[in-house]
């Protein structure tokens, strides 16, 4: 076990003669909010699949929560939470059932699941909707519930793949406060987003272009380096250099 929540060294993945991820090297410290940016097709999804133990690297190495992605993918899956915009909750289950399901998948004892369920529903203000189908809940509630469910087994690191797409501006900000709160209690957050203002909320971020990490640092450092006022401008400068087609 070391201090880094994520450590990648020359991590590479090829599909045939196409190199999706090209020898990326970076670290994410424990408790950090880390933004993982890149244009569509830059290699983000492939990198995340390797870091979450779903895809074997072609070469290079990486560890997540102290576990090697090649040799300990199952230990990684137990140490991480994952939430994406597309898949997170079962729509035809209730919030209570979703929590119980995920608690069971992560092997929490029944009494513990019950305890955490009550606590969580109360904290989210979802007690009155606890037994209604998730499908009928407002999107903002779903997002918060999905995030809480991803944290149910108290993972060291949570991967958030475009968690706020299409969400209204108030809910989007409330969601980021939940990320800060989780980070303040030591959970590392690894976030992708297309909202460039959200990139500014990260402690540090990386920008992938054509399979490589083209920029890595705090938002302030990156803006200074490129002599621009916003991360959007940094992003546009870097991403224009790479081919959009992949």
């Amino acid at each position: 076990m070391n201090d880094a929540a994520v450590r990648a060294r020359g991590l590479t993945r090829r599909f045939g003669d196409f190199t999706a991820v090209d020898a990326i090297t970076f670290e994410v410290a424990a408790g950090e909010v880390f933004g993982f940016l890149g244009a569509n097709g830059a290699g983000k999804t492939t990198a995340i699949r390797m870091l979450t133990g779903l895809l074997r690297p072609t070469s290079g190495e990486a560890s997540v929560a102290g576990h090697d992605v090649r040799t300990e993918p199952d230990a990684i899956k137990r140490s991480i939470g994952y939430m994406s915009q597309r898949f997170s909750l079962y729509e035809d289950l209730t919030p209570r059932e979703n929590i119980r399901l995920y608690g069971g998948i992560y092997g929490l004892p029944r009494s513990e699941i019950r305890r955490r369920t009550d606590h969580l529903l109360e904290r989210l203000g979802l007690v009155s909707a606890a037994d209604e189908l998730v499908a009928g809940l407002p999107l903002g509630w779903k997002q918060k519930l999905a995030f809480s469910v991803a944290l149910l087994h108290e993972p060291d690191i949570v991967f958030l793949d475009e968690p706020t797409g299409g969400v209204d501006p108030v809910t989007r900000r409330q969601f980021w406060e939940m990320i800060y709160e989780a980070a303040a209690s030591g959970t590392t957050a690894f976030v992708t987003t297309h909202y460039m203002d959200e990139a500014e909320y990260c402690d540090r971020l990386s920008i992938m272009v054509s399979g490589r990490i083209a920029a890595l640092g705090t938002p302030e450092e990156l803006k200074r380096e490129h002599g621009v006022d916003s991360i959007e401008d940094v992003f546009v400068r870097l991403a224009r250099g790479g081919p959009e087609d992949s």
Partner: protein, 309 residues
């Protein structure tokens, strides 16, 4: 000035959900008009009604002088519609998709080439590629080409930039402004507030209602309360400290800074900045940077959401 869209008190419900709760607006000919709102605001329902794919429960909508229900067939030939979900044939090539849409409307790609060229040329090198194998940005350009291939007089684009990266989004808006400059009327929806500035006028939509319609630059002037940008130190702690102050109306993270709205509508912003700096210094934030700013569309949207709730 000619009016291309006239919508009056449009209502549409699905079971217990009210998607549109009485929406009225007009779009002038040649305008680039944006609907800005989050998922669930009613954007897609509205666009389906305007594109004659769904009938409203109540109210009326006229496009190019045709009623969207009674004159549906006459209208269909004249509107271009790009649905939010990618709806082309993934197993057909780029060119096959385009030729198909042209033939449905009794024309050909060759005959329409000049019209679609500004957009189509960017994907033409991939004409033989399966549409399903295109990147997000290229799919979007193909969908726009298909929506343009029958020479529509008005375009309805439902969330064309959702899920698309910041670079492709910028390019897409450049294309839309180009089409507008050529005289095409465009009605477009987006969940991205920062895209409002690219429109001539925008309607802020939430919960099936229009919160406000105005030119992007004019929206900020309706805010009505002093707004200050604050930065310095640990953002999360700073946010909590600002919320504790006695005259706080709201505090939200905005990119690299926090936006603080003061509840005292008539207070002078410069004096407030001094007051806030002192209060923060007392709370342990020695060198917080505080300055009055102009509200942007997201500030306005959030304030209106709060007022409507």
């Amino acid at each position: 000035m000619k009016t291309d869209v006239v919508v009056r008190d449009l209502v549409r419900t699905f079971d217990d959900t009210t998607a549109l709760a009485g929406v009225s607006f007009e779009v002038a000919a040649g305008e680039l008009f944006g609907f800005i709102g989050p998922d669930g605001a009613g954007k897609t329902t509205l666009f389906r009604i305007l594109a004659t794919l769904m009938a409203p429960d109540r109210g009326s909508a006229e496009v190019l002088g045709y009623d969207v229900v009674d004159d549906m067939w006459a209208l269909r030939r004249r509107v271009g519609y790009m649905p939010g979900r990618f709806s082309l044939y993934p197993d057909l090539s780029v060119l096959e998709n385009l030729s198909f849409f042209a033939s449905v409307f009794g024309t050909t790609v060759a005959r329409q080439y000049d019209r679609i060229a500004p957009i189509y040329r960017q994907i033409e090198p991939f004409a033989a590629r399966r549409a399903g194998a295109l990147s997000g940005g290229m799919k979007q350009k193909l969908a726009l080409s298909c929506a343009l291939v029958h020479e529509p007089e008005i375009l309805f684009l439902d969330e064309p930039t959702t899920g698309v990266d910041a670079v492709s989004r910028r390019e897409f808006w450049d294309m839309l402004q180009g089409l507008r400059d050529d005289g095409l009327t465009i009605v477009v929806s987006t969940p991205y507030m920062d895209e409002a500035d690219r429109c001539d006028r925008v309607a802020l939509l939430d919960g099936g209602r229009i919160l406000r319609i105005d030119a992007p630059a004019a929206l900020g002037r309706t805010y009505g309360r002093p707004l200050l940008a604050v930065r310095g130190g640990d953002r999360y702690r700073l946010l909590k400290a600002l919320r504790e102050l006695p005259h706080t109306a709201s505090v939200y993270p905005f990119g690299a800074s926090l936006h603080y709205t003061d509840a005292r509508a008539d207070a002078a912003p410069e004096a407030l900045a001094v007051e806030l700096r002192d209060a923060l210094a007392a709370a342990g934030f020695a060198d917080a940077d505080v300055r009055p700013i102009e509200p942007d569309i997201e500030d306005v949207f959030m304030a209106l959401m709060g007022a409507a709730a």
